[in-house]
């Protein structure tokens, strides 16, 4: 136990968010999550660069007959090298998921904060609009959009971002609503601080906890979502190398060529478990901190 003096003596200028991250990383499960996430991230980001050098093949090149065990993990249904396709197949998944998450966060946080802060009719209107978007399950909404616009990259990013937004807006709104009843917001109102400035300097720093948790959660979902669309054959299109698509192409031959399915499944599983472990420890750290603040 450190004494009060020690706590004060530690540079009090340090902003709260780093403290939140420090609290999070103190938990063993966060460390595990970090390792899992980093391993898969490294594979996915460095994979495309390493592919020809490691395996001698590109991911779309036909190296032989289907389902042979040439190469480290054999060939797939079209005779392409499984390991090359695996190394090349994570980058787009992660980039698309990250872009979709970022889009959803920006739109959702802006909308949610505006709704909570405006209150009254604006709030009601925004939230009813949200309800409409929420009434279509994310996947169905995405499928509807893909039917009309075709399975292109930007469609995936936009549609996943847009369907995340109302969910993020809901969380942001309730977090903001809790903060704006605080007297320090009233104090800023009293000093006629511009509204945008109140939102940015008074509200936003006080809802980073729930927002970062939401960010982690949405990233986990985005990864699963992009992969699921590719798995359905409606995301990334052949002959692109992609984990979701690989699972779709190889699952019929699960017995003959298990690696074509197991490698990408394992990568996706490890990645999502990793990000979710991080998110969960972040949520705990954030909850602890709120308890600490009350007293």
């Amino acid at each position: 136990m450190s004494t009060v003096e020690e706590v004060v003596a530690q540079d009090p200028v340090v902003a709260r968010p780093p403290r939140l991250l420090a609290r999070m990383m103190r938990q063993p499960q966060a460390k595990l999550g970090m390792v899992l996430t980093l391993v898969v991230m490294f594979l996915a980001l460095a994979g495309p660069l390493l592919t020809p050098w490691l395996t001698g093949h590109t991911s779309t090149e036909f190296t032989g007959r289907p389902f042979t065990d040439i190469g480290i993990f054999g060939t797939d249904n079209l005779g392409r090298d499984v390991f090359s396709r695996f190394l090349d197949g994570g980058l787009r998944l992660i980039v698309y998921a990250a872009l979709a998450t970022a889009l959803g966060m920006v739109v959702g946080v802006a909308v949610g904060m505006t709704a909570a802060y405006s209150g009254g009719r604006v709030d009601a209107l925004i939230m009813r609009g949200n309800d409409v978007l929420l009434a279509l399950p994310q996947l169905v909404f995405a499928l509807l959009a893909i039917t009309v616009l075709g399975p292109q990259g930007w469609v995936l990013v936009v549609v996943i971002g847009i369907t995340h937004a109302p969910r993020i807006a809901r969380v942001t709104r309730s977090a903001t609503a809790a903060v704006i009843t605080e007297d320090y917001i009233r104090a800023s109102e009293m000093y006629a601080v511009p509204k945008w400035k109140i939102l940015l300097t008074e509200v936003l720093p006080n809802i980073t906890g729930p927002l970062m948790v939401e960010l982690g959660l949405r990233m986990t979902y985005s990864i699963g979502f992009v992969a699921a669309l590719s798995f359905l054959g409606l995301g990334m299109q052949p002959p692109t190398a992609d984990w979701g698509l690989m699972i779709n192409e190889s699952r019929i031959a699960l017995v003959v060529q298990p690696w074509g399915v197991l490698l990408p499944v394992a990568a996706i599983a490890v990645l999502t478990v990793g990000t979710n472990l991080l998110t969960d420890s972040l949520a705990r750290a954030s909850a602890d901190m709120n308890v600490g603040n009350k007293k």
Binding site: A135, L139, L143, L144, A145, T147, G224, L254, V255, N276
Partner: protein, 319 residues
């Protein structure tokens, strides 16, 4: 007061459903090309195209087409499939049943299991059972549904056990429930996807309630622990959990698509994927609006549970 609240929720739900139907309908208009041409192909004669346009009401103004479509939803006429040319209703009726069976089974298992496991996990906080439950649910909640499904297939039908079929192959025209073995894996997958959220919510709410003033008071009154949990704590945890259950049931309506595709289960999800691949807009529209309606109904039910279990809403406030 309570009737007024319920009526209000009902009206809001109807408005939302109306806007969703607009959204879904407008999506069709964005589609390039002529739907009649798409169905009949490039070689179709102008006369046949004209006849089909007439049949599909394509010559009417947009708003008439919208109301014809919406009217059709109530009379059971969902339009014609661009891919098969047949009526959408006929295409979907069996599949709706099949999907409902799958989701119903999953709900029947996951709701009680989720509530019981969540409650025990909260009561045994910090003990082995709690750690196991939180750990397992955290991992399961992270995994995309198809990853869980493939994991089960790999485990039970291909490599390790080989005891359960990985695909559903009921002969056409026969009901899925005549082949219960084929239902096992899809159901378990859905259960494994849905239950963790219920468990986590139930655990969190129970922890909160068990720490509340009235639970402390019940203990200080000398009420036996079992009665504290069953009479004082659990009823208070159920309303928030009902909301999560509603969200999960609604999620199933979408998530079932991937699982049906994976197991080739003859439900609406599979039909939806096929329709998207064929750009069969009428079918996509019909399924979307059905799923949205299901979502809205389920949420309405959860709201009702919330209203009915809250004595503050049930009774007038005195003085």
């Amino acid at each position: 007061m309570i009737a007024k609240m319920i009526t209000k929720r009902l009206l809001v739900s109807l408005v939302i459903l109306f806007v969703v139907s607009l959204l879904v309908f407008v999506a069709t208009l964005l589609l390039p090309g002529d739907p009649a041409q798409a169905i009949l192909g490039q070689q179709a004669t102008p006369e046949r195209l004209e006849a089909l346009r007439e049949q599909m009401n394509l010559n009417d103004p947009v708003w008439v087409r919208y109301f014809t479509w919406i009217g059709g939803l109530f009379t059971g006429n969902l339009g014609y499939s661009a891919a098969s040319g047949g009526p959408v209703t006929a295409l979907l009726s069996d599949r709706i049943q099949a999907s409902l069976v799958l989701m119903g089974l999953a709900a029947l298992i996951s709701i009680p299991v989720g509530i019981v496991v969540g409650t025990f996990s909260a009561l045994k906080r910090g003990r082995a059972f709690d750690h196991a439950a939180t750990g397992t649910t955290l991992v399961l909640a992270s995994l995309p549904e198809f990853v869980i499904g493939i994991g089960l297939v790999a485990l039970f039908s291909t490599s390790v056990f080989k005891i359960l079929p990985s695909v559903t192959m009921a002969p056409p025209g026969e009901a899925v429930w005549n082949y219960p073995v084929q239902l096992v894996l899809p159901t378990i997958t859905l259960v494994l996807v849905v239950t963790p959220y219920i468990v986590r919510m139930m655990r969190g709410t129970m922890l909160e309630v068990m720490n509340s003033g009235f639970v402390e008071m019940a203990r200080l009154k000398g009420v036996p622990e079992r009665q504290v949990v069953l009479r004082h704590a659990v009823p208070h945890a159920l309303a928030p959990v009902a909301q999560v259950i509603a969200i999960q049931l609604a999620w199933m309506a979408g998530g079932v698509v991937v699982i049906e595709f994976l197991f080739r289960y003859p439900g609406i999800g599979q039909a939806l994927v096929d329709a998207v691949n064929n750009r069969d807009v009428q079918v996509v529209q019909a399924i979307s609006i059905l799923i949205a309606a299901a979502y809205i109904v389920v949420n309405l039910l959860a709201d009702l549970v919330g209203i009915l279990t809250n004595p503050k809403l049930r009774t007038e406030k005195a003085s």
